[in-house]
């Protein structure tokens, strides 16, 4: 069992546990089980996407080119940065440094919101270009059907991801509030950090899957 680092932000021991270390171990494992379910949740969609991309590789490549690789790369960098600030926030909470914790939480939230802003802009672009699958779809090329499939996956995958990011930002907001009120607990920050990093990992896979299909062509 991992040793709980010494910190003034002690967790309260819940009655069903015998020791705080046991509680922390349970909390960590519990979050990992939940993240495991998320892997399979996104994974079902990703499996479907992989199959269709293999089947309609030319059309998917064509459609992928309509995604802006520059904003995609910026979003990746922003999210990786937010993972760094999250890790620093957890580190600060272990050391009991309330001010540093607050600063890094704010940075994490700002970077997360920045990501969402760029994504929102992308969605708006797609709407303007009539690339939303459905009745209003307009496509330049003969592979309109497969292009719609690609864009369906694009919106479903990034939309689901964005939803998770919004929830993550909300959680960070709550942690920030707790920090300001002096009621934050180290272990809550640590476990919430796991969720944030996971959402980052999902994007680490979504970016090459969606944006980097045959770019060299």
């Amino acid at each position: 069992m991992p040793e709980a680092a010494a910190s003034p932000f002690h967790s309260r021991m819940k009655h069903q546990f015998e020791t705080l270390a046991q509680q922390h171990h349970a909390d960590t494992l519990g979050m990992w089980v939940f993240l495991g379910t998320e892997v399979l949740f996104f994974g079902g969609l990703i499996t479907a996407y992989v199959l269709y991309r293999t089947a309609y590789s030319a059309a998917f490549a064509h459609a992928s080119l309509t995604l802006d690789i520059v904003s995609g790369t910026i979003m990746t960098v922003v999210l990786l940065g937010s993972s760094l600030t999250m890790a620093m926030a957890v580190h600060a909470s272990h050391l009991g440094n309330r001010r540093a914790l607050a600063v890094f939480l704010i940075l994490t939230i700002v970077l997360g919101l920045g990501f969402l802003g760029i994504k929102g802009h992308e969605y708006y672009q797609k709407w303007e270009d009539h690339h939303i699958p459905g009745p209003g779809f307009v496509w330049d090329g003969t592979d309109a059907r497969a292009a719609q499939l690609f864009l369906y996956f694009y919106f479903a995958l990034t939309g689901l991801h964005a939803l998770h990011m919004i929830i993550g930002a909300g959680i960070m907001g709550v942690l920030l509030l707790q920090t300001a009120l002096g009621r934050v607990r180290t272990y809550t920050v640590e476990v919430s950090g796991l969720y944030w990093h996971f959402v980052d990992i999902v994007w680490i896979f979504l970016f090459p899957l969606l944006y980097l299909v045959d770019r060299h062509k």
């Binding site: 494992l29 379910t37 892997v39 269709y52 995609g72």
Partner: protein, 101 residues
């Protein structure tokens, strides 16, 4: 638990890999483009899991829990491929055409 300098170093590595994956996408490696992209993604994810999520510093049980979901996803991907990769081998009259495979 890792030090802040470890976090910065890992971040630097992640940034390099992020730019690398974008850059390599413009080079024609044929069949290897998606493979390299995925390998880089797996590397980045591993770095985040091991260092930012502290799995490197915790017991084997945490590591097993962390990896289980990905292993199960692999099962889904591999077994479902047995259908899609082999459907064209024996076309059944009247069956749904295999999506262009």
């Amino acid at each position: 638990m890792p030090s802040t300098s470890t976090y910065y170093k890992i971040f630097a590595l992640l940034m390099i890999l992020a730019f690398a994956t974008t850059g390599i996408a413009f080079i024609d490696l044929g069949i290897f483009n998606p493979i390299v992209a995925m390998l880089i993604a797996v590397t980045k994810a591993t770095l985040v899991v091991l260092f930012f999520m502290h799995v490197r510093y915790q017991g084997r049980l945490t590591f097993v829990f962390a990896i289980a979901g990905f292993c199960w996803l692999l099962i889904l991907l591999l077994l479902i491929s047995t259908d899609y990769l082999t459907r064209a081998w024996l076309p059944i009259p009247g069956a749904i055409p295999p999506m262009g495979f």
